[in-house]
């Protein structure tokens, strides 16, 4: 009698017409040890369904609460920076020193220009060594002559 109803349920099951409750009955039947031999091929199917129901997701999910950056604070920082800037520019501004007398200023200026020209000349004079390099490369031309003679020898 039980077997009969199970067979009927199986047919309904294969047509996709069983309700969830009826499917539960089938699952219970096939998970027991007393399965009729001619229905045995269904057993692994229902076993598999039961086994795969137990699989669980074990990985952690990093849920970060995004801290929303408040742009209002940028203006506060900007104001602070500006204030600091003004404060320091006022305190350092006068210490560079300027000349009030034009003649004195001209003297100082020409002095510093002279210094620049001196050191520039020093630098330029060392460039003269480059000539020697040119001389060296011109003597290398002799090597060509050697090559000419060797080529004549090897031809013969």
């Amino acid at each position: 009698m039980v077997l009969n109803s199970i067979e009927k349920l199986l047919e309904k099951y294969e047509n996709g017409e069983t309700s969830l409750k009826e499917e539960q009955v089938l699952k219970n039947y096939f998970s027991s040890d007393t399965v009729a031999p001619h229905l045995e091929m269904y057993k692994p199917m229902f076993d598999y369904f039961l086994v795969s129901q137990q699989e669980q997701f074990t990985k952690d999910v990093p849920l970060k609460t995004k801290t929303i950056f408040n742009y209002k604070w940028i203006s506060v920082a900007a104001v602070a920076v500006l204030m600091l800037g003004f404060y320091f520019s006022n305190s350092f501004g006068n210490e560079l020193g300027t000349y009030d007398d034009p003649e004195l200023a001209f003297n100082e200026f020409s002095k510093s220009m002279e210094m620049i020209s001196q050191s520039f000349n020093k630098g330029a004079s060392t460039v003269g060594y480059l000539d020697e390099v040119n001389k060296g490369t011109s003597t290398l031309g002799y090597l060509n002559e050697i090559e000419n003679s060797t080529s004549i020898i090897f031809k013969k």
Partner: protein, 169 residues
Amino acid sequence: MTQAEFLNIVMPFKDKVFRLAKRLLVSTEEAEDATQEVLLKLWNNKKKIQEYKNVEAFSMTMTKNFCFDKLKSKQAQNLKIVHSNYEDNNTSLQKQIEISDSVSWVAKIIEDLPEQQKLIIQLRDIEEYDLDEIAKMLDMNNTAVRVNLSRARKTIREKLTNTHSYGIK
């Protein structure tokens, strides 16, 4: 919404999401990544969560779409080439053991089903959803779900009968 509230909503069905992803993507690692991705997407849109009528169904649909995207992406296609090129003619010991283990046979049979049927078998026979719910999740109508379900079940039964009586008849 706080983390605890969110977790209360998500915890009951996170395993279902994972199993669905695994059904489609096969590899456990891929499925874990997909689940993580889906949950993170939910978390990022947590403000809208109250508007959804059924968060669970919505997440299942999301998972399905995400997995399909994954399968279509280049990365998965590269994998596919490797798999389809690989053919083992002489059955190894490992395989013989596997064949004798009929439960894993079922897994293989389901793996060979078309994607739509795979999804429906997963949602109905493993997660035990209502047919209407499945129809909503997959954006299909009720009869189409039923037909696909019936086809899938019949295929599984046929293949199982074949392997069951293999060598006897």
